[in-house]
């Protein structure tokens, strides 16, 4: 069976600006795709095309095999979408808004009540049901938007920055919710909070200036930085040459950088080949040769660094 959501070579230009330049992705049930990229890189535009709000200049969006272009109404039935900023009708009460969504989603009878209650419970908005949406805090507004998107238990869930404006507890809760929902749903989450990618996503799509930079996993994203999995060894200057000689015999390492720290300490940064995990090899060498070291640690590249490296040029200035 085809994947739940398949985007094929989507393109969109606004005047002279190429917003999205041939983006394809495919997400199946059980998968959560982290859709990341700098502001203005085309994330929201891509999502708007996937959900049928914007018509792409070229390319297609298929939801469970149904073409968004040819059968928009049918395709939209299968999607739950939280647009950027979680827009809603401010003058409505939360419950009034949810009732409206339930009506449009064609929920009737017993099922209607059950699904509305479930959405309220999942998004934890029980205490603001009678409140006007305009008067809600940013976090609650976001959760009302989320409840709207998940109410009909869609096959495809597309969330544009769902945790923006939430406090750490709420973020944690939303991530749990997304993970729970993903069991039967294909989920695309755009975010600029990279910890989120580590926390919930099974895949990562990084875009910049409308082009795909990386399509893979968080691990692959990290591996784009050469010092990923590098091992730092701290030892005395007099042991330096001996240590270097011994370590260079390992086939798994690519090079060794020496950083002098103090008079009594040097730091060796041992870089692996192809992001191999080298700590065990190094530890063995150290143990076998009884090298006197004072510290050893593995560099864990932060996703932020990988993100920055991939979306900026060498000078560290964002590509324009």
């Amino acid at each position: 069976m085809a994947d739940f959501i398949v985007l094929d070579n989507l393109k969109k230009t606004f005047g002279d600006i190429v917003a999205v330049n041939g983006i394809s992705m495919s997400v199946n049930k059980g998968d959560i795709l982290g859709f990341i990229g700098p502001n203005g890189s085309g994330k929201s535009t891509t999502m708007k095309m996937a959900t049928g709000f914007l018509t792409p200049d070229s390319g297609t969006s298929h939801i469970c095999g149904i073409s968004m272009n040819k059968y928009p109404k049918e395709a939209k039935k299968l999607i739950g979408y939280l647009p950027e900023g979680a827009p809603a009708y401010g003058e409505m009460t939360t419950i009034g808004f949810l009732n409206f969504i339930a009506d449009i989603r064609g929920l009737t009878g017993k099922e209607r009540g059950i699904k509305i209650d479930k959405a309220i419970e999942r998004a934890q908005i029980k205490y603001v049901l009678k409140q006007q949406i305009d008067t809600l805090s940013k976090g609650f507004k976001r959760r009302v938007g989320l409840s709207q998107a998940i109410m009909h238990e869609p096959k495809v869930l597309i969330l544009d920055e769902p945790t923006d404006g939430l406090d750490p507890n709420q973020k944690h809760h939303v991530r749990q919710l997304i993970t729970e929902i993903s069991k039967n749903t294909a989920v695309i989450v755009s975010t600029h909070i990279l910890e989120e990618v580590d926390a919930v996503c099974s895949g990562v799509l990084l875009i910049n200036k409308g082009n795909i930079i990386l399509d893979g996993s968080a691990r692959e994203l990290r591996s784009k930085l050469e010092n990923h999995n590098a091992v730092n060894v701290k030892l005395k200057p007099e042991d330096l040459e001996n240590a270097k000689r011994l370590l260079l015999t390992l086939s798994s390492i690519s090079k060794i950088e020496v950083h002098e720290e103090t008079q009594h300490n040097v730091n060796l940064k041992v870089l692996p080949k192809e992001n191999m995990i080298i700590i065990t090899d190094i530890a063995k060498v150290i143990a076998d040769n009884k090298l006197p070291i004072s510290d050893i640690s593995v560099d864990r590249v932060r996703l932020d660094d990988a993100f920055r490296k991939l979306t900026t040029n060498d000078t560290g200035i964002l590509n324009e």
């Binding site: 928009p72 049918e74 039935k77 900023g85 827009p87 401010g90 003058e91 409505m92």
Partner: protein
Amino acid sequence: MNNIIIIARREAKAYFSTPLAYIFISIFCGLTAAFTFYLGAFIERGQADLAPFFESHPWLLVLLVPSISMRLWAEERKTGSIELLMTLPITSLEAVIGKFIAAWLMIAVALILTFPIWITINILGNPDNGVVISSYLGSWLLAGQFLAIGSALSAMTKNQVIAFVVSTAACFIFVMSGLETVTQALEGWLPNFVLLAVDTMSSLDYFEEFTKGIIDARAIVFYVTTIVFWLFINVVVINLKKAK
């Protein structure tokens, strides 16, 4: 069909859960009364009819209907809720008609709530109530036409002020095009067929038929066609914006 009702109901609730509907209705009723009694010399003329009341309607509607229609789409665009609405499983046509119906019904409520003046005239004399009813119908159709124009223009911008000003101007042209002073001024400047076209497009002429108690099929066709035409433009604008 069902979706149209759901949209219309949501819109209508929005009118009445904010001060919008109440203010619109109060101002409309207040101004029609003011026009009728002061400018129209309702009492002094000593005639048992509502002519001065209905004469004021086209001019009031030119101003007041765009104040309703300006928000129809411009507000959705401004707040971003249009993105929510248009990604729900509904068509542009359903959304356009639903919104139009809610606003048109709200204007109907405003017209109905001017009933005290009808009661007054019935106490004071024996008016031709058939004329009154046909005049109300004409007024409502005229409002519908302005509303359709305003709705289409509102879809073109996210600025409500622009939507209001442009819609008022457009409705004003539709009313003015029937006035003799205007057609006379254009005479000699424009070819005859254009003059004729301008003259037949006049909302005011058709409205005046209604105020004489004549429900002419041509007049109804005129209003219905222009409403359908502008709502069609409305749908086209919304679909074009998707592909902009």
